[in-house]
Symmetry: C2
Subunit: 341 residues, 2 copies
């Protein structure tokens, strides 16, 4: 097993990437190639004990920055860590590519260099999402904004396979996000996707609504990338709002201040444990012809380690093959498809 | 001033409606007509001291139930409290109509009996939404699912007028919900709406993202009814999730249990005060040719009282007239419009 890690990706530069790579190489005995500026990576790597570990550095002089235009940057910065790493995967020099860098850049590089799995209309970006009942999968998060019904059906298929194989949820319940339970609710695209999903060989439980997500009333929540993106960012904002509200509540009077002092740590710890992306780290880009895991820009070593482990599991459990197989069993409208990868 | 209240609307039947009507009639000296089954309303009304108050009962034998199909029910149940009340408003026998009943039914009845303000493509349902900085306005909440760009522009105009006149926010900042700040982000409809909004005589601050809503980074948040509906319901679910999480945090050990006992009331009170729809009660249905306020089905007397007060303010501050005037100043694409009301 060989994973390529974009060592330049994320808000904290190469240090947490190198740290996570060393940990995972040691724990799992796999090879992790660190792609990026060798003059920055090498001094960090020598600070770790890397005896008997496979941690080659692959030099790439450029970095795709957050302000870069994804499609343009991927074409212009041919020697960026993102492009060089993705090309290694495309050539078969590696089994998976992991990055905490520019999400749009990763998507553009994957489309350009890997292409799509034959039969897939559009790849989708998924993430594990915290609920009262544990983690569920939400897709798409923004790779596709105006979605056709058959794309949504393919997201459902891919999400279901990932949830079953990597998150190890048996026969995952697939819900289609809409503005009402009835199949007559939703945009035109959602209503048509609903009709197709009823015929698909999936555990489709019908439309789900906004509140069903935090309550964990499905295992895979399918939506277009516009709605998915708004939801995920809204959840971030609401978390901040509730934290401020709690801070204010604990400042009400002497009694609540004492309570705050007593409970603050337990609350913080539980929030971190139950709501924090570091616990799960790394969203799979499903539908491209290879294993690509994209992590949050704010990832530190712990979250990067999670993303690397997700990559190993996604390779070992043959998610890409399973998607190829699954496509053959979809109702006709959802898998006509010439290869335009 | 004469308000018509759908006395049958809401999950708790006529009792809280009657109670709220008595309160508001006394506080504001206005007439409130109670529409519904007189055999249910009268025994409730006589329990209150109604001397010198104007609280006529208008008998209507039918009720639009939550499971009814809105458009069908509005046509079939001609003697429902919803239809009879809306017709009073349409005839000019009242200045506003307020209901805690079926939202879709209210929308259908308003379209059928009031029609739209001349020039308005589609009415939109708005609600006040709690943020760290106070209440903001979110529209649309589900009246329109697949939205054309010019509809979104009209929602922005109507929301801005309501925020300024009723919520008393000077020069309200209008944000268009999208999946990124840049004007190239969003669905096709959102991108086109962005271009139109830049030319509109509104305080348009550009695209806003999911996290901007709970953080209160605009005063009026404009989106299609699909996204708006998902957001509002997601917020409900997330509130439940956080409450469960807090309960769990307070159960961690003896110390946190003590903290819970000390702080629970302050937290509950602040949550209620800062996140609870009862504080604000009642969403205006903007764009129909009359003042219609629709409240939450779970409203008790306090929330119904808020909705009635919102109706009074919306009438007094001439929101319908202001929308008619505002339409004339919109960029051409947003206000071509023959009257199909």
């Amino acid at each position: 097993m060989k994973i390529v890690l974009d060592a330049m990706g994320g808000d904290f530069g190469p240090a947490p990437n190198v740290e996570a790579a060393v940990q995972v190489a040691r724990e799992f005995g796999c090879e992790i190639a660190l792609v990026g500026r060798q003059e920055q990576i090498r001094p960090l790597l020598v600070q770790h004990n890397t005896a008997n570990l496979h941690l080659p550095i692959v030099h790439a002089s450029e970095v795709i920055e957050m302000h870069d235009h994804p499609a343009q940057a991927v074409r212009a910065k041919k020697n960026s860590s993102m492009v060089v790493g993705m090309q290694m995967l495309a050539r078969g020099d590696a089994d998976a590519f992991v990055t905490m860098g520019h999400t749009g850049g990763a998507l553009a590089a994957a489309l350009l260099h890997l292409g799509r799995i034959q039969g897939i209309h559009r790849p989708c970006l998924s993430t594990a999402f915290p609920t009262v009942k544990g983690w569920v999968l939400l897709c798409d998060l923004g790779a596709n904004v105006d979605c056709k019904p058959e794309w949504l059906v393919q997201f459902a298929l891919m999400g279901s396979i990932y949830a079953e194989r990597v998150m190890q949820i048996r026969s995952p319940r697939v819900g289609l996000i809409s503005n009402g339970e009835e199949e007559t609710k939703g945009t035109q695209a959602v209503q048509e996707a609903h009709a197709l999903l009823k015929q698909a060989p999936l555990n489709f439980i019908g439309n789900v609504q906004g509140y069903d997500l935090p309550l964990g009333n499905a295992d895979v929540f399918v939506t277009d990338g516009f709605t998915g993106n708004v939801i995920v960012k809204f959840a971030e904002g609401m978390k901040t709002m509730i934290e401020e509200l709690l801070r204010a509540a604990f400042m009400t009077n002497l009694q609540t201040k004492v309570a705050g002092a007593l409970a603050k740590n337990a609350i913080r710890q539980l929030m971190k444990q139950r709501l924090d992306y570091e616990e799960i780290g790394g969203a799979p880009l499903l539908g491209v012809d290879g294993v690509v895991i994209i992590g949050h820009g704010r990832s530190k070593a712990r979250a990067i380690r999670s993303a690397l482990i997700r990559a190993i599991e996604t390779v070992e459990r043959r998610v890409v093959d399973a998607i190829e197989d699954g496509l053959r069993n979809l109702p006709q409208n959802a898998a006509p498809v010439e290869h335009r990868g």
